[in-house]
């Protein structure tokens, strides 16, 4: 008998996309870490320890918008947090996902009931849709959005939607829904290292670099 869709998804598709994910992420991180950097020839204002502390403080303070921008950015900040936390809860605390993590890393922990994960998934999906609506309706955001912005949204949202369908056992057979869900995750994995989704790793580097750069010059942002 030929291979079923689920066997293809769990087998060649998942194995290959995981390999591409690992290769791509490691490639980009190593590449960035060892790229030649311009030497900062300015004289540091304050001692190195103070600069570092200030840089970390800047990193933390930027996790919430400054008072001046709060009114304008509150919606996207809150919605952004909602779907990021939602994704984290779904990925880390759905029992079936923990099995995958255990299979990959050997680590495991307790999961949450399916009902809670379902509610979190619906909220996450709603937040992701709200972000898309904002991107399409805000004139400035729409102008500066490129294909990669929409693609990043698509490959993030697709696994949430297909995962919800797989949990619901609706519209198609479970094995088909599960296969489609796994394939959507494969798409996310192969897209991840080569676009804006890399921010999951790079946000720490970029934000720290910026705050460090200004802190060194005595500007505490």
């Amino acid at each position: 008998m030929s291979m079923t869709l689920l066997e293809f998804a769990r087998g060649p598709a998942l194995n290959l996309s995981l390999a591409i994910f690992v290769l791509g992420v490691v490639f980009r991180l190593v590449w960035l870490a060892f790229l030649p950097r311009a030497v900062d020839r300015s004289v540091a204002r304050g001692r190195a320890g103070t600069v570092l502390r200030s840089a970390i403080g800047g990193f933390v303070s930027h996790m919430w918008p400054a008072k001046e921008y709060r009114a304008r950015t509150m919606f996207s900040t809150v919605t952004g947090y909602v779907f990021h936390f939602g994704l984290a809860i779904i990925i880390l605390f759905y029992a079936q996902h923990i099995l995958v993590i255990e299979d990959l890393t050997g680590l495991k922990w307790g999961g949450l009931p399916t009902g809670i994960i379902t509610i979190v998934s619906v909220i996450t999906l709603a937040a992701l849709l709200a972000m898309l609506v904002r991107r399409l309706t805000n004139p400035v955001l729409k102008t500066i959005s490129t294909f990669t912005d929409y693609w990043s949204w698509f490959v993030t949202t697709l696994p949430v939607a297909t995962g919800l369908l797989a949990m619901s056992h609706m519209f198609a057979r479970y094995e088909t829904l599960l296969a489609v869900h796994i394939l959507s995750v494969c798409l996310l994995l192969v897209s991840f290292p080569f676009g804006k989704l890399m921010h999951a790793f790079l946000v720490f580097a970029t934000r720290f670099q910026t705050t460090y750069f200004y802190s060194r010059r005595g500007s505490h942002i």
């Binding site: 079923t4 490691v26 599960l178």
Partner: protein, 372 residues
């Protein structure tokens, strides 16, 4: 030699000869109707149709199989019910059950084919060897492949009993040394009903054959040619442990607290969510139990490729066919490529700086020259 012709007499006559009352037949009709979720009242219709029906000639071919399917059917818990199937049909050829042997047995098959041309049903259990023209499985000096083609030619329908006949089964497991294939890959011009399972449930086998005899048509089939009345729902959808799945309560091993509490077996590899069969509702041994009730996950034995779809004990969402060298190789490859790209960038920067320095030196030299 005069052989007894198949299909002689009605089912009703055959039953009354054996002392089966009309009342018992009505009860059996109702039982079948209930099993297949047919409308109320069809039990009586089935009983009447069965009583009047001429006994269906059935030729049962056993190929690459273990006889587990026929064991399941004949040794069922309530033989008074499942054995009735043998009263509905005229089993004209079955290597395990028939009294005849050798040439007489083969002659019985040929006689039944001749007497009921276009009207007999072929039941197959076991997969068909096709490699090297099928020489890896033969009976009476002929390959299964040859006998199947010949016997199915004038059949009304073919019923593939068991996972081997339906999907290839264990003989088709990698590396499939005999080139085993299911019946559907050999016979393409006849209605084929697949009744998979390793073995199939006795009620499902009996019910499918009875449906064919009663209504003269094949029941509604799913995309894998399985009768929908029996293969419409997953084990998971009908499992009594399903609430634990929803609550996230899983047995993590076969002897932990969760296993003792009877929690869901999904994490220890239960294939219930992707397996379509009636085990969770009809249960085995006269409705006594089924694997999950006995504390073991479903193997998915009525699904294609269940034997090669990863370990029976690995959970459904996890990877299959994993090569442990791939991810470390990807990691090392990524590191080497990244370092290479960074070194190349450093070399480009160095070259650019040198070129710049050279240009600056050249400019100042020219300037000095002109000043002199």
């Amino acid at each position: 030699m005069e052989l007894p012709m198949a299909g002689l007499g009605t089912v009703g006559e055959a039953l009354s000869r054996q002392g089966v009352s009309r009342r018992s037949l009505l009860k059996y009709g109702s039982y079948l109707a209930t099993l297949m979720a047919l409308p109320a009242g069809s039990g009586r219709a089935i009983a009447q149709a069965l009583a009047d029906a001429r006994r269906q000639s059935v030729i049962w071919l056993s190929f690459q199989e273990c006889t587990g399917c026929i064991e399941s059917l004949t040794r069922s818990y309530s033989p008074s019910v499942e054995e009735m199937i043998f009263n509905l049909i005229s089993l004209d050829y079955q290597e395990t059950l028939q009294a005849a042997a050798g040439h007489a047995a083969e002659a019985a098959r040929e006689a039944a084919m001749e007497a009921n041309r276009g009207d007999y049903v072929v039941v197959v259990d076991g997969s068909v060897s096709t490699l090297d023209n099928g020489i890896y499985s033969t009976a009476a000096g002929r390959t299964n492949l040859d006998v199947l083609r010949e016997t199915a030619r004038d059949a009304k329908a073919v019923i593939a009993i068991g996972t081997c006949a339906s999907f290839g089964g264990l003989p088709a497991a990698q590396p499939n040394p005999t080139g085993a294939v299911p019946v559907t890959e050999i016979i393409t011009d006849k209605p084929i009903i697949n009744v998979p399972g390793c073995p199939p449930m006795p009620e499902v086998m009996a019910g499918t054959i009875a449906y064919l005899v009663t209504f003269g048509t094949i029941p509604d089939l799913d995309h894998l040619n399985r009768p929908k009345p029996f293969f419409g729902d997953t084990i998971h959808d009908r499992c009594y442990r399903r609430p634990f799945y929803e609550q996230g309560k899983f047995a993590k091993s076969f002897d932990d607290e969760g296993a003792r509490e009877g929690w869901c077996l999904y994490e220890v590899g239960c294939k219930g969510p992707t397996t379509y069969n009636s085990c969770a509702t009809m249960k085995w041994n006269g409705g006594t139990s089924f694997p999950i009730q006995s504390g073991h996950g479903c193997l998915g034995c009525s699904e294609p490729n269940f034997w090669d779809a990863g370990s029976f004990y690995s959970a459904l969402p996890t990877r299959v066919g994993v090569d442990d060298r791939v991810l470390p190789a990807a990691l090392a490859g990524g590191a080497v490529l990244g370092a290479g790209a960074a070194l190349a960038a450093r070399a480009r920067k160095k070259a650019a700086l040198q070129q710049q320095a050279g240009a600056v030196t050249g400019v100042s030299a020219t300037r000095e020259g002109s000043e002199a």
